[in-house]
């Protein structure tokens, strides 16, 4: 059982994500994590400002429970099922990140330069995290789903809109990493 404590290879991670989709379908629900952001907005009173947030949030309570589970799962994975959480990315990625100033590449789970304790104090880092988060939240709702809703469950259902969204995800990601990162970092 020692493999559990090692980083999981893709051929374990992929099938387990497919199993998550299957189990959610089998309990009569759809896989989609970003819907929770909308539900949380409604819970915060956003229905007073926009019709978009006036919906029966109780029908989405099950999904909030899934999200709570994901949070607990992250805790279990990090604290009970890991000995070393360094992510062994490829040497060319490490070299590239080192050149951009990311010294934690190949050492940590997340870049210390963005998510370390300094991130709350450095205005530039704070801005990067906020802009990234706003784009994820805005884009996911605009596109009607995120990686789970489109790339996994939508494509599994052979939905053309999901293919368009995933193409959009990739154009956006490639633009950020190849065109914008050299300007930002």
């Amino acid at each position: 059982m020692n493999w559990i404590y090692e980083p999981w290879p893709w051929y374990i991670g992929g099938p387990f994500i497919a199993l998550t989709l299957f189990l959610l379908l089998m309990v009569g629900k759809n896989f989609g994590m970003s819907s929770n952001l909308r539900t949380l907005c409604t819970l915060c009173g956003a229905g007073n400002t926009s019709e978009f947030f006036k919906f029966d949030w109780k029908a989405q309570r099950w999904n909030l429970v899934v999200a709570l589970g994901v949070l607990i799962g992250g805790f279990i994975g990090a604290h009970f099922l890991s000995t070393d959480t360094a992510v062994a990315i490829s040497s060319s990625t490490i070299e590239n990140l080192n050149n951009l100033g990311f010294k934690s590449a190949g050492v940590g789970y997340l870049p210390e330069e963005l998510f370390g304790s300094e991130s709350f104090q450095n205005p530039k880092i704070l801005l990067i995290l906020v802009v990234g988060g706003v784009l994820v939240g805005f884009g996911a709702r605009y596109a009607g789903g995120c990686t789970s809703g489109h790339a996994i469950s939508g494509l599994s259902d052979l939905q053309l809109p999901s293919l368009l969204a995933v193409i959009g995800f990739f154009i956006g990601g490639l633009t950020m990493v190849h065109l914008l990162f050299p300007l930002i970092f």
Partner: protein, 138 residues
């Protein structure tokens, strides 16, 4: 009972996201630089098995564990919202290195600065709700 099943599925998914490193900013960056097969392997196998199980459920009209019909909601047919929204999502996914599922897993794992990203994602969702009528969707 059902609530417990949702919680268990979430925990299983959260552990998977963390342990497979799909929740790592580094893996997302590496993926967009095409320097490793890892993320493509994860998404690829998840998708292949997802297609098989979804199509099997539809073809053989398999009922849920509770004996109910499993409903698939077709997405509304349009082009712009998926490409534009997807593009903006992709920019954020690469910058913050996390999509909505991994965000929750990372918070649980103890990376508290991800709370900034989650709060900002809520703000982004709120902005979409406010601006929805003014955006091209067709």
């Amino acid at each position: 009972m059902r609530t417990l099943s949702y919680l268990s599925i979430g925990i299983f998914f959260g552990i998977t996201l963390f342990k497979s490193e799909a929740a790592s900013w580094f893996r997302i960056y590496e993926m967009f630089r095409f320097e490793s097969f890892h993320m493509y392997g994860i998404i690829g196998t998840a998708l292949c098995l997802g297609i098989l199980s979804t199509q099997a459920i539809k073809r053989f009209e398999i009922n849920s564990f509770y004996g109910e019909k499993i409903e698939f909601k077709p997405k509304t047919k349009s082009v712009k919202r998926y490409l534009y929204g997807g593009f903006l999502f992709g920019l954020g996914w690469a910058l913050a290195g996390a999509c909505p599922g991994p965000m929750f897993a990372l918070l649980g794992a103890g990376f508290y600065s991800i709370a900034i990203v989650i709060a900002a994602a809520l703000l982004g969702t709120f902005l979409y709700g406010v601006l929805k009528e003014k955006l091209p969707h067709s």
